[in-house]
Symmetry: C2
Subunit: 267 residues, 2 copies
């Protein structure tokens, strides 16, 4: 499922988007999940993966096969034997965790976390995203080492994400917060938009043929019928090529009708 | 990885968030992916799953096991044998597809798609999200049946998502666009924030002990030293309980110091 388009091709690691928060996985269990995390990271331009006590050791073949080619991330992943060593060089650590009774922490949405991480990042501070083991999540000792909790406000009736999905959503917000992309644009590689002149020729052609075909039943309804047709065609925002095609359609239909006339509709 | 917190518990299907865009999977290949899609959908409150010609038939055991309990979605999923039948009742269809040369379509980001879908939805129009087969993506014939392309602006050097991840990112934007959640709040289930009075008592206690300990080397530096200490404590936004703890810390340290004095620092 490719999400690339030419608008983004200018954006690249060269601009530093390839850098960004470190992702710290605490005691991840399945290699497949580590690989899927690496894929999600690289999707969002993150490359600094740190793994604390991976259950099945490191390197891990299953991680490689699940990474869908994000080996760049796996190859430079670093393994640590405790959380403190894994985050020593960082200035701010965010972690996803269920809210824990008795823990006093600021809690932010992924979008707010992305904004705050951008702020730290552009001020030259290194930030990290910490994720706990698949089943159990972060232990309180590790939560106590983090600055801010990230709470993903999903369907409260079914909010559990797998590890790679949690990484993807937060890394996605980080990546998007650094993008400058048009929310909406018109893709018309098929050619130039039709000029107003092209469009008006089309109006004339269609309305002339409709006239001849007796389409305009009553003279007083005619102006509004014409307006409606023009609004409809206007809205389609035709390209030059599409306008030519439309001329052809009109000619074909009108021609067929005309041919039919002499032999009383026989064909 | 739970993203639920009490702030969201008020949000529920009752408010209609459980409804929303239909997700249409065209010729999905692996049951695991269909199950992961169902999970991502329910994470984001979507329940209307439509499947066109699933390769391995339907129902699919692997889909159930991969759905992590999102059977609500799988149980009511509908299977169709062509795309047109699957979208007949919808008013607007968005689809994720690589930009195709020669196709004339508006292209939007997932966030913009969510906004536009909300607009249609609140106007009573039914919308759908269409996704193609894992490897090949949507064929041009299906793209031609959709109104708007969604392009996920990920790392242009590594932008390919798996099916469930693509569904998750777009469903996530839909869900978030309907949420009204504080971007940042302070979680202090441990108790009430300390009042200014509590804080000022702490200032007095600490500064008094520091006075006695000869901490304020020079009188002219003293005011700024006091300000810095107060700013530091202010910033920690203590709870009542934490303020009491801090009083205890001061007393313990100062007491130890005092005990130490007579025997010349020996212990």
């Amino acid at each position: 499922m490719s999400g690339t388009n030419k608008r983004q091709l200018s954006k690249s690691f060269a601009e530093g988007d390839g850098d960004g928060p470190a992702v710290i996985l605490i005691e991840p269990q399945m290699g497949e999940n580590i690989g899927a995390v690496a894929r999600a990271m690289l999707n969002c331009g993150l490359t600094d993966l740190r793994i604390v006590n991976p259950r099945d050791g490191w390197p891990n073949e299953k991680a490689v096969s699940a990474s869908a080619g994000a080996t760049l991330v796996l190859d430079q992943a670093r393994v640590f034997d405790n959380t403190r060593d894994a985050i020593t060089d960082l200035h701010r650590v965010f972690s996803t965790a269920a809210i824990v009774r008795g823990m006093v922490k600021p809690v932010v949405t992924p979008r707010e976390a992305a904004n705050e991480m951008r702020g730290h990042w552009s001020a030259g501070r290194k930030v990290g995203l910490m994720f706990g083991p698949e089943r159990t999540g972060l232990v309180n000792e590790d939560i106590a080492l983090t600055d801010t909790l990230i709470s993903v406000p999903l369907n409260p009736g079914f909010s559990s994400l797998n590890l790679a999905q949690a990484v993807l959503l937060i890394a996605y917000e980080w990546w998007i917060s650094g993008q400058d992309v048009e929310d909406r644009y018109f893709h018309a590689s098929a050619g130039q938009p039709a000029s107003k002149g092209d469009l008006h020729n089309l109006f004339d052609h269609l309305e002339g043929e409709l006239e001849e075909a007796g389409f305009f039943s009553s003279e007083d309804k005619r102006p509004s019928m014409v307006r409606n047709i023009r609004n409809m065609l206007q809205r389609t925002a035709l390209t030059e090529q599409e306008a030519r095609t439309f001329h052809g359609i009109i000619t074909a239909l009108a021609g067929r009708k005309k041919r039919r006339k002499p032999d009383h509709g026989g064909e």
